[in-house]
Symmetry: C2
Subunit: 160 residues, 2 copies
C-alpha cells in the first residue's frame, strides 16, 4: 500500500469512497444529501492537503489535513479519514502518515473535533495512535439508528 497526494484525476475514486459514508450519515457530521461537488470541495479543495492510499493500483482510502482554527489557533490541524476496506490497517497507516505530513506542513498538533462514541473502533484506534479524549459533548449527534449519541473531542500534540 502506498500513500500519495491526491490529484484532480482521483476525484471519482475519492467520491466512490466518500459517498456511502456521507450518505449513511452515521459517522461524519456532514449533510447526508451533500452533492458530489460539495463533498469533493470539502474533502479535496478546502483542506491544506488531501491524500489517497493506493493498493494494487486501486484507491482504498483517502484523508485530508486542514487548519482547524485560524489566527493563534492555526498551528493545530484537523484530519478526516475514510477507508474503503476494514481490518487491513488502512486507517492506521493513513493516520500515522498524516501525523508525519502534518508536521512537515508546519502543524504542531492535531485535533479531531467530533468522533462519535458509537464509533468505538475509531476511538480505540485514535487512542492507540496517541490521541487523548479531551472531552465529550453530550447528545451532540443525532444518529439515524441510535438516536442521540455523544461526540468526543480528541487531541494530540505532534511537535517534539
Amino acid at each position: 500500500m502506498q500513500i500519495r497526494t491526491a490529484t484532480r484525476s482521483d476525484a471519482d475514486a475519492v467520491w466512490h469512497l466518500l459517498q456511502p459514508v456521507f450518505r449513511a450519515g452515521d459517522t461524519y457530521a456532514v449533510d447526508p444529501e451533500i452533492s458530489k461537488d460539495s463533498a469533493l470541495s470539502y474533502w479535496m479543495d478546502d483542506p491544506a492537503a488531501c491524500y489517497v492510499a493506493v493498493d494494487a493500483g486501486q484507491i482504498i482510502g483517502t484523508y485530508y489535513i486542514k487548519t482547524n482554527q485560524q489566527g493563534g489557533g492555526a498551528h493545530v490541524c484537523n484530519c478526516g479519514y475514510v477507508a474503503g476496506v476494514q481490518g487491513q490497517g488502512v486507517a492506521t497507516a493513513m493516520c500515522a502518515a498524516s501525523q508525519t505530513q502534518a508536521r512537515a506542513l508546519g502543524y504542531s498538533a492535531m485535533q479531531f473535533n467530533f468522533v462519535l462514541t458509537s464509533n468505538a473502533d475509531a476511538i480505540r484506534l485514535w487512542h492507540k495512535l496517541g490521541f487523548d479524549t479531551v472531552g465529550t459533548l453530550p447528545n451532540a449527534f443525532d444518529h439515524p439508528a441510535l438516536g442521540m449519541v455523544d461526540a468526543q473531542v480528541m487531541y494530540k500534540w505532534l511537535a517534539d
Copy 2:
C-alpha cells in the same frame, strides 16, 4: 438596551466593534489581518443569524448564531459575542438572549469551540450562564503576549 437582528446598514458599526478584537488576536481564533469584507461575511452573512445590542441609538455589542456541525450534528449551534463596553452586562444580556433565539431557530444545544483559558472573565461568565467546560485543549492557541495558552470547549443543552 435593546437587542435586535442586524441589518446590512449595521455593517460599519459591527466592523467598528470587531476590528479591534480581531486585530488584537488575543481572544478569537481569527486571522488578525482579516479584511473588513471577510470579517463581515464571517460574522454577519455565513451564520444563521446576527444580532446587535443597541443603547441610546448606539450599537454597543454584536453576536452571531450559526450551525456548529452539519448532518446529525446540526441541532447544536455556535455563537460568538463582542461587547464594545465592559462591566455593564452587555455580554450577559447578549448570551441570555442568544439562548432564547437559538431555541426559536430550532437548536437544542450551544457549543463554544474555543474559549481561551486566558480569557478568564468570559469563562466565568459562561459558567454562570449554564455552560459546562467539556474539555481543555492544551496549548491550542498562540497568544501574542502570553505564548501558548489552553482553549476550552464549552457546551450547554438548551432544550427542555
